[in-house]
Subunit: 369 residues, 2 copies
Amino acid sequence: MATMHDVARLARVSVSTVSYVLTGTRPISQATRDKVLAAMAELDYQPNAMARGLASRRSRIVGLLMPMDERGLGATETAFVTGAAAAASAAGYHLVLSPVGVGDVDDLRRLASQRMLDGAVLMEVQVSDARVGALQEAGVPLVLIGRTGDTSDLSYVDIDFDQTVREAVAHLVGLGHRRIVYVNHSAATIEAGYGPAVRTREAFVAAMAGHGLEPLMIPAEDSAAGGRAALAAALARTPDLTAVLVMNESAIFGILGELTTRGLRVPDDVSVVSMVTSPQVAELATPALTAMTSPGSALGRMAVEALLRHLEGAGEQHQQLLPCALEIRGSTGPASTAPAGTDDLTDHIPAARTGRHRIDPTGSGPPGT
Amino acid sequence: MATMHDVARLARVSVSTVSYVLTGTRPISQATRDKVLAAMAELDYQPNAMARGLASRRSRIVGLLMPMDERGLGATETAFVTGAAAAASAAGYHLVLSPVGVGDVDDLRRLASQRMLDGAVLMEVQVSDARVGALQEAGVPLVLIGRTGDTSDLSYVDIDFDQTVREAVAHLVGLGHRRIVYVNHSAATIEAGYGPAVRTREAFVAAMAGHGLEPLMIPAEDSAAGGRAALAAALARTPDLTAVLVMNESAIFGILGELTTRGLRVPDDVSVVSMVTSPQVAELATPALTAMTSPGSALGRMAVEALLRHLEGAGEQHQQLLPCALEIRGSTGPASTAPAGTDDLTDHIPAARTGRHRIDPTGSGPPGT
């Protein structure tokens, strides 16, 4: 490993000159500076990160700021983090993971004032989010994963929820579904203005209206129990539902469990689509879930890359949406039109459906049908 | 926000003296230094992190070094990260997340030579792991989450796999199970010396021997398909199995799916215990999984706290094991002794079992029984 002495010898300057170039504590002529930097490059000299950071006014550290609770992150959320860490690492930057929730604005101001972060990527953005203003006031270059309500002067990457919901609804409508229930996050989450919950709700209403269908919606707590309760409530209110579109990865296994408990088969009785889901999570279910696959890793990478372009001075405002991709697995099929206990109607159903008629001999369809 | 000028005024020194105290570029008497530091504390002055880092030879940055692949992390693994980030943040440190796999020793040497990290926590440790030696040679204080083969001069925190496996086996044996199959990670993972796979395998052999039982074991790829294949292979080899103990969170939903496909009920026909699992993952299944709950968040926190004690000079070698806690949910019950199609034997089974007799009217028990 090359030392400061090696650099000084090659550049034919004193060791203190090398030190001044690094720390910026004394003015050094451009010619001398260039000689020293060339010697450093030739020797692959790794200066002390703090000295280099002080000299260049760049720490080469970017922050990934996100709330972290005891629950931890799901596999789908974690893909954002690993994508961001890989992009930072590939560009020779370091990614600091800072637990900064919506209420931690004072912590954020203190963090910004230390000038440790060259810039920040902010995750789990709320429609109204005080952290954005705090970082802007502190002059910290910023890219959001997600969007606030007013994004006119912000850079962000986010999921294209409009297109994602439109495609998911089109997939179900194409299979003959008309009574589709949208299972969202909790009512409290929607009221708090959590972007994905709010935006998909609006997109669902619009997409269903486009097909002349009623937008049936129900909130669910982020848990298996929440999913069970939501499905029970949905069936009580909409006994003729044939599909659920689920924007709640923590609830979806509860929904599947409740369907099993009630003797309802997926996809013969009820089709299920999971929104913003990773293939790993989709593959956990039996049958594997048809899902709108989250571009989490790509968005994490794109956010860091946009931030680094800002830091290099080349970055203009960057606003980019990426839709989730529809991946059809086993949990969606043609809409069941046969009322419970009428398996003999199978003959009247088009050929494409014959492989999918209900095979539950008890004929326990949705309650009320 | 206090400035360097405010500090200089309060300490009655020049601004350059404050700067010298921060950067360490000129020697300053202890008395003056103390005055300046007291003024900084009184004003809650936040110095430039790089300057403070250079002066104190401390960056207040610790690294969490872990391999990251496209798959991302599961909820259970992520708890280590969030626990570590919270502990660092609480102590006024920053946690850098560095993707450093077993093969990235050169990257690691470069990272260490930059002196950006005060210390490091290394995750996903292999029994033989070149990263440990590289960090030790570079003089980076180090705490492992996991263990290498020789830990004589290392600090680590890890799961107590012996006790965890012993408790899981005791739970199943207590329910009358004798034919218990251990589903591990893949054969390649075991051969590569991945600690949790190797240690639990040894612990399972010992625990079963302690009960005078045969240690039935099968590897599984880390996927739902891997779980399905492993269960099929286990049933082919051990048709009279009544319980599976699963050390593979990526495979367990495939195992549950394959049981459902074969008409085998959990826990009536086969009991299932998931090893080193978070409650969130356990609650996804129907019935919810009896699990040995991972102490991930606690271990992440303990690793960072042990590292910070090293950095403060107070830390002695720290070696600590924490067992997973048995949490009984719906996936375990008394061993099924009745061969398939013999529901009328229910009357002869002790009262404790009557709520658990098989309710599958087709009587499709494990093949071969």
